[in-house]
Amino acid sequence: MPRHEGDGGAIVLDVRDLSIGFGGVKALDGVSLRLDEGVIASLIGPNGAGKSTLFALISGFLVPERGRVIFCGEDITGLPPHVICRRGMVRTFQIVQPFAAQTVRENIAVGAYLRHRSPREALARAEAVARRVGLAGQLDKLASSLTIAGRKRLELARALATEPKLLLLDEVLAGLNPQEIAEMLPVIRALRDGEGGRGGVTVLMIEHVMQAVMDLSEHTWVLNQGRLIAEGAPAAIGNDPQVIEAYLGRGTAERLRRVRT
């Protein structure tokens, strides 16, 4: 197993030179990134930049043409998604699809069953997780009856219930109104910080809501047309008007300045 000779904090995720194409179109071209343990990091970029494709490659839903994915020092390239999840990496989906016929509690328990065989334990875990994401009041509702904000929380809760080391969040804030976003930010921050003696979770999020990227993440990668074109502290990236204008679209620099003041 290839190991990373670390410099201080452990590397949770080490993506090396990932590439994949779809019928001649290079969706991702030589993407490499390293994620430190215990941080919230983000991946931004315009639509079609390849962010979700990168998530799919990391989490095993797609197999790369070239490159490796090293998770906690182990090569997981090409492993199927359920095996990767068992190793401690879980993803959410941009388009949330709850198991509609089941209650919120049962939905979350599906995730909890990964580490808890007995239904009683899994359902109890589901309750605990629901409290962490603010769904405690809706445990017995049918998942199909939740609002968009509720479904996003459920998607997060299900993933969290698998007790991951690394959480890949694909636009959990998309479609929420400003107040709902404001309510969600502390939830995500609390995941990293951990709770009740439990270690925190490392979070990598794809996000379009710049306020969240700025508020939450310590490190940001910018993806455009399948290549990483910048990385660093979000403020630094946000401070570079050229990067912003070129890769996030005209006018974003102005919006970011407003967010920060």
Binding site: C85, V90, Q97, F99, V110, Y113, L114
Partner: protein, 322 residues
């Protein structure tokens, strides 16, 4: 737990039936209803809980029926020994079809068509080989004794089919409250989400088709013992496949009691049809087709869905008052 009590109460009531009812016609009706419920529950486990719709469940039924008949006629086995062997064979055929179709990601109508094709292949095979009696079929030797799974009275058959049907219901009950059941239903609702949450989708589906095939094969054994005869069309023809899927769809797909309710409703309907329309050939199939169209259009969740709707409405009214 309430459901378990309900199953036990139902089992006790039906088991005691021969003490009060002596009419062969009535007992036969109950036996055939339970038999239909068994086939329906078998299909329901794969189709209702697992979301994999099969159009060819006769492939498991026929395999069970032929296994029982061949083992008795050709090898002189006792029928009671043939029963577990046939059940195991049903699971093996399930594994075979499951590996082939789920490994290659066949879903929805593709999976349905593959199962239909397998049933046809098995029908043609059983129609070809002398070993299975070819087109003539196989008749098991008559020997009326409980020790040979051939009862002189209907009560014996009633108790056996009741036991098999209750066993199928217990499997469904277990699916509703176990880790495996939660995984199976998650796979039904969204395969990608299920895989992302660490569920081995392939193995979960494979387990469901094996359980379903095993129960269906038990139905086949019962059929052979009850009617003493099997031929390729009875075993692998579309009749059984249609009955197996119609019962849970009418009763409520993916529910514990749906197949029981569906079987009862369909048998009542078949009797009414016979009473009012006489024995017109094919009339019951016509009515079944009509029922299927009406159910899918107006009651996609079946009788159980109707009951749940009523209960919800009552709950809401109570909630409003509170």
């Amino acid at each position: 737990m309430r459901e378990l009590a309900l199953i036990a109460a139902f089992g006790a009531a039906v088991a005691a039936l021969p003490l009060f009812v002596s009419s062969g016609f009535a007992l036969n009706a109950v036996i055939m209803t339970l038999y239909a419920a068994l086939l329906g529950q078998a299909w329901n486990i794969l189709g209702g809980f697992g979301g994999q719709f099969s159009f060819g469940h006769a492939v498991f039924f026929g395999t069970g029926a032929y296994a029982a008949a061949v083992l008795q006629v050709r090898f002189g086995w006792n029928a009671w020994l043939a029963l577990p062997a046939a059940i195991a064979l049903g699971a093996v055929v399930g594994a075979f079809i499951g590996v082939l179709s789920f490994r290659y990601g066949l879903r929805g109508s593709y999976f349905a068509l593959v199962t239909l094709a397998f049933a046809e292949v098995f029908r043609i095979l059983s129609n070809t080989f002398q070993f299975t009696g070819a087109g003539v079929g196989l008749m098991i030797p008559l020997a009326e004794s409980a020790a040979r799974f051939q009862f002189a009275s209907r009560a014996g058959f009633l108790h056996v089919i009741l036991g098999l049907t209750l066993a199928a219901c217990l499997v469904a009950w277990w699916l509703q409250r176990s880790r495996y059941g939660a995984w199976l239903q998650a796979v039904r609702d969204n395969e990608a989400s299920a895989a992302a949450l660490g569920i081995d989708v392939f193995r979960v589906k494979l387990g469901a088709i094996m359980i379903s095939g095993a129960l269906m094969a038990a139905g086949g054994v019962f059929y052979v013992q009850y009617f003493h005869y099997i031929d390729p069309h009875l075993a692998y023809g579309p009749g059984v496949s249609v009955e197996a899927l119609l019962v849970p769809i009418v009763g409520g797909i993916g529910t514990l009691f749906g197949p029981l309710l569906g079987a009862a409703a369909l048998h009542l309907l078949a009797e009414l049809t016979r009473t009012f329309m006489g024995d017109v050939p094919g009339i019951s199939l016509l009515v079944y087709g009509l029922v299927l169209v009406l159910m899918v259009t107006f009651l996609p969740r079946g009788i159980m869905g109707l009951l749940a709707g009523v209960a919800e409405a009552r709950g809401r009214r109570r909630g409003d008052r509170a």
